[in-house]
């Protein structure tokens, strides 16, 4: 598969994503500059973590108007695969490609540590190789991960199977003490109705090699590759 890792001013997980896709998974990867307006030729676009435009105004609010975003919106609406990780997730929310909005963590602290997340659906391209209830260990590193969505929208999302990951205990129980940031219903990741766009706060690219402390993030990449008919 051909992956494009989008680089905004202030992205800082772009190299990690590139490394995992190329060296760990053996895929073709290029960087896509935020000023580019052509994303044809890619199968999947990755919006990496970081602090695009210094997180000024709101996280992702300025990056959302980068020239490349128009092309990404058309790509996503045409069924192209798009994953936003951490700041990338925040940008997808601001762009309206995913429902909801991000607020500051309830504890007002930047949180950088491993968390456990539970796979809520295996019906998305991103979790097709995982099982429902499977617990993944992956790091979060954010100040604004407090996912907010109104009740009506949330009910609609649940009907469409758009809640993909929830923060949980190591055994897979969703309990308030395992919700690191106050996110509505402990939501850690959501997808579009069609499932081709995924946003998640934990970093699968930082949990894709045993020596990094966890390989659980690989299931996200491998699910997509398998879904697209690539042998992994």
């Amino acid at each position: 598969m051909r992956f494009g890792v989008v680089v905004f001013p202030g992205s800082n997980c772009d190299h990690d994503c590139f490394y995992v896709l190329e060296h760990v998974l053996g895929q073709q990867v290029s960087y896509v500059w935020h000023g580019d307006t052509d994303v044809s030729g890619y199968d999947c676009l990755v919006l990496p973590g970081g602090f695009s435009y210094g997180d000024y105004l709101r996280t992702g609010a300025v990056a959302r108007f980068s020239p490349v975003m128009g092309a990404i919106e058309r790509f996503a609406n045409a069924g192209g695969y798009v994953i936003g990780i951490c700041n990338g997730f925040q940008i997808l929310l601001e762009a309206g490609l995913l429902p909801g909005a991000m607020m500051r963590n309830t504890g007002l602290k930047f949180i950088c540590r491993f968390v456990d997340i539970r796979v809520e659906t295996s019906s998305t391209p991103w979790t097709s190789s995982a099982s429902v209830g499977q617990v993944l260990s992956a790091p979060i590193a954010h100040n604004e991960g407090n996912y907010q969505v109104d009740t009506m929208q949330l009910e609609e999302m649940k009907r469409h199977g758009q809640v993909v990951f929830r923060y949980c205990s190591p055994e897979g129980s969703v309990l308030p003490e395992f919700n690191p940031n106050g996110a509505t219903e402990a939501i850690a990741g959501v997808c579009s109705i069609e499932g081709n766009v995924l946003g998640m706060m934990p970093h699968p690219e930082r949990a894709s090699e045993a020596e990094m402390g966890s390989e659980d993030g690989l299931v996200v990449w491998r699910s997509l590759l398998t879904h697209c008919g690539v042998n992994v």
Partner: protein, 81 residues
């Protein structure tokens, strides 16, 4: 040249972790009369143009598109020509 002010506040029902922390800090300083506190954003703009109606409609557009996130925030504006 016109001057404008935009006030951005969190929508009712959206929890405000910053506001709650400031509220607790005021209470710990002994200001027990503070019943609630919410933190918002205030912006000052200088705008070219004299037509108040047009400037307001443009500023409303700017607020909805970029300055505020309509999912979690409300805005209010004042334009002086």
């Amino acid at each position: 040249m016109a001057r404008a002010r935009v006030y951005i506040t969190l929508k009712e029902g959206i929890s405000d972790p910053q506001g709650k922390t400031v509220l607790r800090a005021l209470k710990s300083l002994g200001y027990d009369e503070v019943a609630d506190l919410r933190v918002g954003k205030y912006m000052e703009l200088e705008l070219d143009g004299e037509d108040k109606g047009k400037l307001e409609s443009r500023l409303g557009e700017m607020s909805e598109k970029l300055l505020a996130n309509p999912i979690i925030e409300d805005y209010r504006m004042e334009v002086e020509v």
